[in-house]
């Protein structure tokens, strides 16, 4: 009888320690299944992605000053990789829609106000909005795109005719030094 109680006690101890470990990271079959799906879809890294024209994008530079948007000419160079936005998500306030020659919407994406700056640093966070900015609209390298429309909080701001992807040379604005 004592032997039986000892084994039951041992079982309880093991069970408790086991549950303690599981608290660190629980097995979640539904998540595991989704992770497996994600893993099956992500492919492998290819260093030649820079040459993949089918998955590239280009940039249109836009100035905002005196409450007006104007397109900066001379920057529709193809860039490697797809544009970084989740396409066709227009949840955020600033919405970019791009259309073909028949004014049919090809796609869209959204982000917060392009002049917004966010200082989430430390105990005194702050946001501010610049009233004069130059920013980039990133578009899929799709030659059918002929114009784009910008809106903010549901209000249409402007519409541009855009140069086709790859039309001009890169307008590099950065600086810096090579470190290697």
């Amino acid at each position: 009888m004592k032997y039986a109680y000892s084994i039951i006690l041992l079982s309880l101890i093991l069970l408790c320690s086991c549950n303690g470990n599981k608290a660190q990271q629980k097995n979640d079959p539904a998540l595991d299944s989704t992770l497996a799906k994600i893993d099956s879809q992500v492919g492998t890294f290819n260093p030649a992605y820079i040459n993949d024209a089918a998955n590239s994008h280009y940039a249109i530079s836009v100035n905002f000053a005196n409450n007006q948007f104007t397109m900066v000419p001379g920057n529709a160079a193809i860039r490697p990789g797809r544009a970084p936005y989740l396409m066709n998500d227009t949840s955020k306030p600033f919405v970019v829609k791009f259309r073909d020659a028949n004014n049919k919407i090809i796609g869209s994406y959204s982000f917060v106000n392009p002049g917004l700056l966010r200082a989430c640093d430390g105990k005194n966070p702050n946001i501010s909005i610049k009233d004069s900015i130059k920013f980039e609209i990133l578009l899929p390298a799709n030659k059918e795109i002929t114009n784009l429309e910008l809106s903010n909080n549901g209000k249409r701001l402007t519409q541009f005719t855009v140069p086709p992807a790859g039309a001009n040379a890169v307008d590099s604005t950065g600086g810096g030094v090579k470190v290697q």
């Binding site: 992500v42 260093p47 966010r118 980039e136 810096g176």
Partner: protein, 353 residues
Amino acid sequence: MNTRKITGYQSLAYVSLIITMFSCKENPETFAIHAPIYPGNAEAVTYTLNKITGDVSQVQLHETIQTINASGTVTATSAEALLQTWNNPSFPLNFTKTGGYATNRLVTYRFDVTGNDKHYTHTISFATRPYPVPNQPAPVYVVGDVNRVMNLVFIPDRDIPAISTFYNAVKVDIDEVFHREDYVRRFRRSYNFFINPFTGHAHDYDTETRDHEVPSNWDQLSFAQGKVILHDRDIRDFAEPDKHLFSAEHYVKGTLLHESGHNFYDLADEYGGGSHWQEATLPNNWSSLAGCRADAAGRGMQMSDAHQMGTSGWYKLCPATCVMESSGTAIHPYEKPCRDRILYSILQRSAGN
């Protein structure tokens, strides 16, 4: 033959012990890293596998070496080689490749992990230094197609005293930010990390012009969902959301996790006076209390969890411990509503949307 009569109590005891022993087995969870993160010619590389939890019965480490040219094209691929096998291992596991690798190489290592009748792999690639593709960020910890995973480019600030400090900070950020957060680390095939070959310069939000100085190859970085300038000065950091660009001290970890929430998953701030909007799918901010309460049950929360962020007129379900409320030195976890959005975002990205 020695036979013993087993009583009812003894039967119960044996059954409970057996059930306990089987139910105690856990699926293994591990993460892998290499150091240095961006090794130079012939520099020794140490591979490490850490265990988070679970039962691991065997681990194998393999490597494949590719030669790449200035166009990023692979010109030669070695056969995969088995480097080491560990049976019933004690963690962490380490293996050092003495003599390292030559330049112009992309090295892929694979940890095969078996335990509790599960089998999975960590497959990670990194370039040796210098990366031969001009003006491109060097892949230093990449796991998937750039168009199907989240991409983060680390940019050294020109104020970094020694580039080795920066390289080490990148390794620490991958290992101690992305691999330590309880939820994010489960997506072991969803994040690519790069090091930019050109410097930028982060400005102080309070005392300098509110625009970071971007590196000269900026056009080559716009594919990335996140770009972070790691700097040495102690300044008030800020983000430029339209550029997917932010800054952080190279020794601060919480900023990276918080800003990744914005850049990778479109999570809004969870403090009053931050940047607020309501995503159409699985938001972490709501524009009304009624909407926030209505979604609570479906997000694993209670209606009573819904509360306003300060006096912003925006509402949330996450408690104050969520990383989207905090930033800075401490690493807080993402809470359930944010986790929902993380899963959705990564799933969308992996599907090519």
